[in-house]
């Protein structure tokens, strides 16, 4: 883990429900978080092949490496990427 510098932008806020475990909070809001993190930047690698009329395909989605600032308040957690 290394220290990141930068200014926070475009935050997303989740309810903590008295839980300080970030992993659990993200799991409880995974649909929303995945949709949000995809918008920040996503690398797509797709390959497909048709050999003797038999089709196979592979699509790999890789998130961009990014630093985030995480602030816990009483009832909410604010997650902001750093630019």
């Amino acid at each position: 883990m290394q220290k990141c510098d930068g200014t926070a932008y475009n935050p997303i806020i989740f309810e903590t429900r008295n839980d300080k475990n970030l992993k659990k909070i993200l799991f409880n809001n995974k649909e929303e978080f995945i949709n949000y993190i995809h918008k920040l930047g996503l690398i797509i690698e797709h390959k497909d092949s048709t050999i003797n009329f038999v089709y196979t395909s592979t699509t790999i989605l890789t998130l961009k490496t990014k630093c985030f600032k995480v602030d816990f308040n009483d009832n909410f957690v604010r997650i902001s990427p750093l630019k």
Binding site: K39, G41, I44, E45, H46
Partner: protein, 147 residues
């Protein structure tokens, strides 16, 4: 009579010079035209365009619940939609090879691939019907980014 001749000479000279101007007139017009074209290109480059795709995904057969089937089908449909956007914006690389012996196809291979980075794409609509999940996705990009 002498004055009349001089007048006719002056008139013909004026007509000639007018023709000269008329012949040479298109040159500056062309310069203006090319400037307008480059301005138009700049305007087009700054123009935004909306790309819309529909990704499809199918749930695997061995799921533990209908909810898991839906979630997995949706995930596949989202990945397919991103791939379609990447293909539209960046283009697709296609490699093909056919082996033909004695006028018959012995082996046929078609490979396609795309690699891109997509940002700020929006899911517009998700539908799930008869095991097929469809995700409509849109992205607003500048004309200059579209290659």
């Amino acid at each position: 009579m002498k004055y009349l001749l001089i007048l006719v000479t002056i008139l013909s000279a004026v007509t000639l010079s007018a023709q000269y101007v008329a012949v040479n007139a298109p040159a500056p017009v062309m310069a203006v035209d090319s400037n307008m074209k480059s301005e138009q290109n700049v305007l087009e480059a700054e123009e935004k365009m909306l790309i819309s795709v529909v990704g499809q995904g199918v749930a695997p057969m061995n799921t533990s619940s209908p909810a898991q089937a839906y979630a997995l089908a949706k995930r596949a449909a989202v990945a397919d939609a991103y791939r379609l956007i990447a293909e539209k914006v960046k283009g697709v690389r296609i490699d093909g090879q056919d082996l033909i012996k004695n006028m018959m196809v012995k082996h046929s291979t078609i490979r396609t691939s795309v690699a891109a980075m997509v940002r700020n794409a929006n899911i517009v609509e998700t539908t799930f019907k008869e095991g097929l999940c469809e995700v409509e996705m849109e992205i607003l990009i500048f004309h200059a980014q579209f290659k």
